[in-house]
């Protein structure tokens, strides 16, 4: 009988804040510039240079802290984390050690197995390091170059409690965290560009045991699915060790995407002593009530709240509410359409269908497209009022997406208006009856489906413009009295 184990996961997430300038100097944070362009004496750590805190960075960190239901510190400070590495210009990173800007928060997550509350231990501010560029691969490289453009880009590190029990929960936590930060508009949260990075602490313990097992720290998981896969691998690896009566060694392991496994990087003995101490170049950070109030007023409705409200207030199915609130702009767009057009489900159908398809194809956000909320509501009304059919509407929508034109104008210019005038359709209906004697015979013999065929013929002749309901009624009147 093998013991049953419980997985314990804690995540450390580094997020680049999207301020225009760096945390301690005026250099631009823009990604993708030529190497070492966005640098100055401060972020290069030249002798005699001094850091000056960017207030906006603090604002952003406070927003994050508040959105994660943290207590915001009244008194916080910056500390130096000392270690040698070529990408670290000063050979220390300015970070926060014992007095982080925010503590004691939580994130509510939802997986297929239910709703869970994951504690957030702390949110702290720090500066990013530069980046090493190796010629070829790191082990065979003859030379390495350093790019300090990233040096001094503001980061927040968000540390979770060890409350996560499955890799799926870890993924849900990351997804929700990313969504919250996107709602706050304080980070691009782009894992490929490195603006969101995740390390994980994983351990197993026999079910029912209180003490934690020995943990491994996992690094280098560069996508959400890598986090999930890496954790799954690591849980299995530790499980196997324990089942075989071996012990888990405390160490740092790296996820190798190509090999699909985690590999040991360094053991506990090689762990750094960072010799943290308060940075004498920076004053302590004092956050008074009015500053807190100012930031709290900027806090938007958060994704979880919005999701719940969309379900309760608009009676949207949970799935729809999830998709629509899965993007702050989509949710805003939705509510703007709703001001003029009171059929939430119909709006969500259109937004999740045609709209999302086109947005994904073009890799755009809703406000980047030609569709305005006003025009979408106008178009939906035109469908309801039989001005256009649902099928024609798809065509109108595509033109609207490309051109940004008013749907009424599109219908007029393209001659797409629905024909709902009996007199106008009369002769065409008669023609089709005359041309399809077999179908007419079928209908008279009770084969109702043949009506659909005739309607189809008329729609074809009118290039979709005929009001299909009206045509159907006219055919019935003529053939089935």
């Amino acid at each position: 009988m093998s013991t049953k184990y419980e997985t314990v996961i804690g995540l450390e997430v580094h997020v680049q804040l999207s301020t225009k300038s760096k945390i301690f100097c005026g250099c631009s944070t823009e990604f993708g510039k030529a190497p070492n362009i966005n640098t100055c004496p401060v972020c290069l750590g030249l002798p005699g240079s001094l850091p000056v805190l960017n207030k906006k960075v603090v604002d952003y960190a406070m927003l994050a802290g508040m959105a994660l239901s943290c207590d915001i510190a009244e008194y916080s400070k910056f500390d130096r984390k000392n270690y040698f590495y070529p990408d670290l210009a000063k050979a220390y990173q300015i970070s926060q050690f014992d007095l982080p800007i925010a503590e004691n928060g939580n994130i509510e997550i939802e997986t297929d197995n239910g709703i869970f509350n994951i504690g957030v231990t702390r949110v702290h501010l720090e500066e990013d390091a530069g980046k090493l560029v190796h010629e070829g691969s790191i082990d065979k490289s003859e030379a390495s170059l350093v790019d300090y453009n990233r040096s001094g880009v503001p980061l927040i590190e968000i540390v979770s409690e060890p409350d996560i029990r499955t890799p799926a929960q870890a993924k849900a936590y990351l997804t929700e965290l990313k969504l919250i930060l996107e709602y706050l508009e304080i980070s691009d949260c782009n894992m490929e560009e490195g603006s969101l990075r995740c390390d994980a602490n994983v351990s197993l313990r026999p079910e029912g045991q209180k003490e934690f097992g020995t943990k491994a720290e996992l690094k280098n998981m560069n996508s959400f699915s890598a986090v999930e896969k890496g954790l799954e691998y690591e849980v299995k690896r530790q499980q196997k060790l324990l089942d075989e009566g071996q012990v888990v060694v405390q160490e740092t392991r790296t996820w190798d995407e190509d090999l699909n496994k985690t590999i040991s990087m360094r053991g506990k003995e090689e762990a750094h002593d960072y010799r943290y101490f308060p940075d004498p170049d920076l004053l302590p950070l004092e956050i008074n009530q009015s500053w807190k109030k100012e930031i709290r007023e900027r806090l938007p409705e958060l994704p979880r709240e919005k999701y719940k409200r969309f379900i309760s207030e608009f009676s949207l199915p949970a799935y729809d509410a999830g998709v629509i609130t899965g993007n702050r702009e989509m949710a805003e767009f939705f509510e703007t359409v709703l001001k003029d057009y009171n059929d939430p489900k119909n709006i969500s159908n259109w937004m999740m269908g045609e709209f999302l398809r086109l947005l994904n194809e073009n890799n755009e956000g809703p406000y980047d497209s030609g569709v305005s909320p006003e025009n979408l509501s106008k178009m939906l009304k035109m469908i309801d009022e039989d001005v256009i059919s649902g099928k024609i509407a798809k065509k109108v929508f595509e033109i609207m997406y490309e051109s940004g034109k008013d749907p009424e104008k599109i219908v007029e210019e393209e001659g797409l208006k629905q024909i709902s005038d009996e007199d106008e359709l009369e002769s065409l209906v008669d023609q089709i009856i005359a041309a399809n004697p077999d179908a007419v015979e079928d209908i008279k013999n009770g084969k109702d489906r043949a009506i659909g065929f005739l309607v189809g013929q008329i729609m074809k002749e009118t290039r979709g413009k005929a009001n299909p309901g009206l045509v159907n009624q006219m055919l019935r009147d003529k053939l089935m009295d």
Binding site: P41, L44, G45, L46, P47, G48, S49, L50, P51, V52, L53, R80, N82, F84, P86, A89, K90, A91, Y92, S144, V146, D273, R275, Y276, F277, P280, D281, L282, L283
Partner: protein, 480 residues
């Protein structure tokens, strides 16, 4: 008197009256340097091109405080495109791409920056013998040290190789060499002078300050270099004044404290007598002199030798061979590049302090050393604040002896002890000045330290100015 012997205000006076020209001044100092530099060895780099640039702008800047005045700068103060080596091999050929704020201020004030002065490597030392390049000799006796770490600056002023100079003071590095060289040196309240561009040794203690031939020059230099700087988060807003208004011969009613615990320490009797005689003069001039009690200076020295090295171990970690300065030729990977660069690049005293500081910050020792030292620091600061509730100034010797002979202090602890009177001032963050108060039997200058409360530079200048007038030593020059 020769032009090179004159003070800033005397030179300005002559310029304004048309009795001399900037060209004459430049030539006088250049000739003086040519004549005595071999003996004194104050300078690491001469910057005649830089001086020429501002000399050419004399007409447009002639109303500025330092227009046409030759000034020397300690080599740990960054000067754009000019070597700033901190007297270290690790930065031997380092040329900063930017000016420190004080250099910009000197430049704006029309100063002719004529050279970068020798110092103890990274300002760690009390005799300038820790320079990686050469010793500087005391102009009053070439076999003696000029003090340190701003020994080059003090010697240059005393030798007439510049009109005035900038030094930096972390535990006495302006005041102690000023005392040894018989000139005036001021360490200002922490935060009064921007540290932007000053190569950091111990960030919470470092302050740039003037070394001058007299108190009036000290006030002028202080006017130029003080003021808030948005590039230095620890710089103080709205405290700078026109210090020339304190150039008054008046100490009546001024309360001066004489700390018994300091005077009870074992130090040179001639120094003690000279300082106490000067205090008597102040008393005669109307000051109220009283004994005060103060925390034993040994605690300050102990705290200093934890906090200073701790900060230094972090501040000096960046000299790793990656970006600038020395990179060891012997390296074959990143790790050996770090190791060898730092082994070859730093001198013994710097290494010693890096090791001490690294140890003090290490996990498991942090509370016992760094944290405790910070607590001691708070107590010392509180102690000074308490005294300054009742007193305007405190007077002590600047150093326990006059200038030491070169090569005689090989025990680092003995050397550390030479800063016993100056270190507590940096620990407390208060201002203090060293001014000459006499000479010992070997004709070596003795320095008196005037300590003021935070932002009490004005009171210090006023008392020092008064004392200077009474003692009438300011025109006495070293014979070279």
């Amino acid at each position: 008197m020769n032009l090179y012997d004159l003070t800033i205000h005397e030179l300005k006076d002559k310029l304004n009256k048309g009795e001399t020209t900037v060209a004459e001044i430049r030539k006088a100092f250049a000739d003086r340097i040519a004549a005595v530099e071999d003996k004194v060895k104050s300078y690491l780099t001469l910057t005649d091109d830089l001086a020429a640039k501002n000399a050419a702008k004399y007409e447009e800047k002639k109303d500025e405080l330092l227009a046409g005045i030759p000034i020397a700068i300690k080599d740990n103060i960054s000067t754009e495109a000019i070597k700033t080596s901190c007297a270290s091999k690790v930065l031997e050929n380092y040329k900063p791409p930017f000016n420190s704020t004080v250099v910009d201020k000197l430049d704006a004030a029309g100063a002719l920056i004529i050279g970068k002065t020798n110092m103890d490597e990274f300002a760690m030392g009390s005799s300038t013998e820790n320079s990686a390049f050469f010793n500087t000799n005391n102009p009053w006796n070439l076999n003696h040290a000029p003090g340190g770490s701003s020994g080059g600056s003090a010697a240059a002023v005393a030798a007439g190789e510049c009109a005035a100079a900038l030094g930096s003071d972390t535990g006495g590095s302006i005041r102690q060499p000023a005392s040894y060289c018989g000139v005036v040196g001021l360490k200002l309240t922490y935060g009064m002078v921007s540290r932007y561009g000053l190569v950091a040794f111990a960030s919470s203690l470092d302050q740039i300050g003037p070394i001058t031939k007299d108190v009036e020059d000290c006030a002028i230099m202080t006017n130029v270099i003080t003021g808030y700087d948005e590039k230095d988060s620890t710089s103080v807003a709205d405290k700078a004044e026109d210090y020339r208004k304190y150039l008054k011969e008046d100490v009546s009613g001024m309360k001066i404290g004489i700390p018994e615990e300091y005077f009870n320490l074992d130090f040179d009797q001639e120094v003690k007598d000279s300082v106490l005689a000067a205090v008597k003069e102040l008393e005669k001039a109307g000051a109220e002199v009283e004994t005060v009690h103060i925390t034993d200076a040994a605690y300050a020295l102990a705290a200093y030798y934890i906090i200073g090295p701790a900060e230094a171990s972090s501040n000096l970690a960046r000299y790793d061979g990656v970006r600038y300065g020395l990179r060891s030729e012997e390296a074959d990977d990143v790790r050996s590049m770090f190791f060898n660069t730092r082994s070859e690049g730093f001198g013994d005293e710097v290494k010693r302090r890096i090791v001490i500081g690294t140890y003090a910050l290490s996990s498991g020792y942090y509370d016992a050393y760094y944290l405790k030292a910070q607590k001691v620091r708070t107590l010392i600061k509180d102690d000074f604040d308490r005294i300054f509730n009742d007193f305007d100034l405190i007077v002590t010797p600047t150093a326990p002896t006059t200038a030491i002979e070169l090569g005689t202090k090989s025990d680092p602890l003995e050397m550390y002890y030479t800063d016993i009177f100056t270190v507590p001032i940096n620990i407390a963050g208060v201002p203090a000045m060293s001014i000459p108060c006499g000479f010992d039997s070997n004709n070596m200058p003795i320095g008196l330290q005037l300590i003021g409360p935070h932002f009490g530079e004005g009171k210090i200048i006023q008392a020092a100015y008064t004392l200077e007038k009474i003692l009438d030593l300011k025109d006495k020059r070293a014979e070279l």
